[in-house]
């Protein structure tokens, strides 16, 4: 039983990182109907930037985290400016945007390679000193708790922001109907840019948390989460924020339990994607998605 509980904790933990990553992914999709495939690259750069701030600039992780998140957000603005905005009014904007985001992903990855090298790197050992808590036979480190808390705070904060703030409402309006939003006097381009900022900031935050826990960051680390993030937002219902959170947790749990039961990680992705496939067949709009209606 303890073993099972411990595996649940493991799953909850990795699931919350997936969720945070997918929330940013799904936000852009909800607003623009475009998959931003450079999101995993922003995830990587977020983590590596925080590492640079800690290691080279000598900041503590508590200072480095917000700065790196901000930089990741700025990368989002750059993405919007370079890869999406120029294509926005073309008839094939969905497709060309997808392709140009892949190009940006490759560039970001190359920048990471050039600046940080191909080696696997980690945060210095004393960046955070986790305490280990044991209760009822389960081991949890304070670092894990902090990561889950940060992930959930950011996710809850985003949901509240979209629901209640003026900008949040504008984002939802643009998501619902861009033309109508424009007619209502909403500065659509600015809102879209802002959406990219938020989305990429969250992606960068996920990258930092991921790097902090796994102690293994490399320029290609985004690839390990790229497809999973995509699967998570499909699972949760494209464009749905609570769906992305639920999907992330479900995905994390399914991964961990598959490995725990089979004793090998070979089937991990197979099971996760089989679940995804089943959901697509049985409930095409995802767990929490509503058909033809987006929540931004």
């Amino acid at each position: 039983m303890n073993l099972f509980l411990q595996q649940l904790v493991n799953g909850l933990f990795i699931g919350s990182v997936y969720g945070l990553f997918a929330v940013g992914y799904t936000l852009v999709f909800g607003v623009l109907d475009i998959l931003n495939l450079a999101h995993p690259a922003v995830f990587t750069l977020g983590g590596l930037t925080a590492l640079w701030l800690v290691e080279t600039a000598g900041l503590t992780i508590f200072q480095a985290f917000p700065i790196a998140v901000l930089i990741a957000g700025l990368l989002g603005l750059l993405l919007d400016r370079v890869a999406f905005a120029p294509l926005r009014h073309r008839a094939d904007t969905y497709f060309s945007g997808l392709i140009s985001s892949i190009a940006m992903a490759i560039m970001f990855e190359s920048v990471a390679l050039g600046v940080f090298g191909a080696h696997t790197v980690r945060f210095p050992a004393n960046t955070v000193t986790p305490t280990i808590w044991r209760f009822a036979g389960i081991t949890v480190t304070s670092l894990q708790v902090e990561i889950v808390l940060v992930a959930f705070l950011l996710m809850v904060g985003l949901t509240q922001f979209l629901k209640h703030s003026r900008t949040g409402k504008a984002i939802r309006a643009v998501a619902e109907n861009e033309r109508m939003a424009r007619l209502l006097g909403i500065h659509v381009d600015r809102i879209i840019a802002f959406t990219f900022f938020i989305s990429s900031a969250l992606g960068g935050a996920a990258g930092i948390l991921f790097g902090l826990y796994f102690d293994a960051m490399s320029p290609d680390m985004g690839r390990s989460i790229e497809l999973k993030g995509l699967a998570v937002i499909v699972l949760g219902g494209m464009g749905s924020i609570p769906g992305a959170i639920a999907g992330g947790l479900a995905f994390g749990l399914s991964e961990v339990l598959t490995v725990a039961i089979t004793g090998t990680s070979n089937l991990r992705d197979a099971v996760a994607f089989a679940v995804l496939f089943a959901i697509l067949l049985l409930r095409p709009s995802g767990i929490l998605g509503r058909s033809r209606m987006r929540e931004a």
């Binding site: 595996q7 293994a216 725990a260 090998t264 990680s265």
Partner: protein
């Protein structure tokens, strides 16, 4: 980064041309005494460039020592270095050049097993002896009776690691975690499995992972629940450090040591796993702190000459030159490849920096490997 690399290449280019000059000048100077040309095919560019450069250092040091000691009448070595570019194609070109144009007495190299699989066949056909100093894959010496190596294979290192670990730590039940989608880590696992069974240690749990995995907590949680005496891991260094650090985060106590295969043999382990790497046990073909006087002298001389400590590849290269020299000096003439081959095959109990060295009947290395333990961020000797 890029700048550094450029500088490094320029440095290497300068060094290479210097050696070339040196070679030419020794050719004139040593005309009086006997001399033997040896071909050195190392990866100076490409994926294995990092290994090739320390191999070259090791060889150069040994050649300088030997030539200085040979005096006016003794046998001198003329090293001819060439770059196999980490690829079999280039390896073949270099071997052809050594055999047909340079007419070398013996070839040392190539750096990678993959290259050796192809290039060594050419030497075998031409009847030129080859001494591998870093090939550990199966089937290299099986190519033919002219192919030798002084690099220990996993099949020798791992059983010794298990034996020493059992003696010192009194382990009786272990859990095994390995990468099952990589030829190297899988071969390591198989070697461990045979060695563990041979030592009477029970495997109570087996878990696997795939290349590129970062989250090992599900597997480690399963392992932890079974309370093994030790965890045996066959992984490349990237995954190895993740496994080691996550095991300690999951509160698997330090009293449960982690025993690793050759993939753990990298400073990257300590760099990326940090404190968690303390106490990790791994077998190796050589260790800097081996206590023999020959080894101490080598480490010191290497450090004086190059300003850094030698690694395993430098030591194997250094020992390789001495082994080759012993065979060359026994042969009646440097052109008599058959006699050189026979002299190599007869080497038994030779004192080298690697240890008390012999060739097996299958022309593989035979000496006792070391077992290392990570202590204060460095590999220290755990047992021999």
């Amino acid at each position: 980064m890029q700048k550094n690399k450029q500088m490094m290449w320029m440095g290497i280019a300068v060094l290479m041309s210097l050696t070339l000059l040196l070679t030419v000048s020794t050719e004139f100077a040593a005309a009086a005494g006997k001399e033997a040309k040896i071909g050195l095919a190392f990866s100076m560019t490409g994926a294995a460039a990092g290994y090739g450069s320390t191999q070259k250092n090791g060889v150069q040091l040994a050649v300088d020592e030997i030539n200085a000691a040979a005096g006016a009448d003794g046998l001198k070595l003329i090293p001819i270095f060439d770059d196999d570019a980490s690829t079999p194609q280039q390896g073949v070109n270099v071997f052809n050049k050594f055999i047909n144009a340079d007419k070398v007495s013996l070839i040392i190299g190539p750096t990678l097993s993959n290259t050796a699989q192809v290039s060594n066949r050419i030497a075998q056909q031409a009847g030129v002896p080859v001494l591998g100093i870093s090939n550990t894959a199966k089937g290299i010496t099986e190519i033919g009776d002219f192919i030798f190596r002084n690099s220990l294979t996993e099949m020798v290192v791992i059983p010794n690691t298990v034996k020493v670990a059992k003696e010192k730590l009194k382990i009786s039940k272990v859990a095994v975690l390995y990468g099952n989608d990589d030829a190297f880590t899988k071969a390591g696992y198989e070697a461990f499995k045979i060695a563990l069974q041979g030592a009477g240690i029970t495997i109570i749990n087996e878990q696997t992972f795939a290349k590129g995995d970062r989250d090992f907590s599900p597997q480690l949680t399963q392992i932890k629940s079974q309370n093994p005496d030790a965890i045996v891991v066959s992984a490349l260094v990237e995954e190895a450090s993740g496994i080691v650090s996550q095991a300690r985060k999951l509160d698997i106590p330090k009293s449960v040591p982690i025993i690793g295969g050759n993939g753990f043999n990298s400073p990257g382990l300590m760099k990326n796993a940090g404190d968690a790497a303390e106490g990790v046990i791994v077998g190796a073909a050589w260790n800097t702190s081996s206590s023999s006087s020959l080894n101490r002298k080598f480490v010191e001389a290497y450090n004086n000459k190059y300003g850094s400590l030698p690694d395993q590849f430098a030591a194997q290269a250094y020992a390789g030159v001495y082994i080759a020299y012993q065979a060359l000096s026994k042969a009646p003439s440097p052109d008599n490849h058959k006699a050189i081959r026979d002299a190599l095959a007869q080497i038994k109990g030779m004192n080298t920096v690697l240890g008390n060295f012999s060739f097996t009947d299958g022309r593989d290395a035979d000496y006792i490997p070391v077992v290392q333990i990570v202590k204060d961020g460095k590999f220290a000797i755990f047992g021999e």
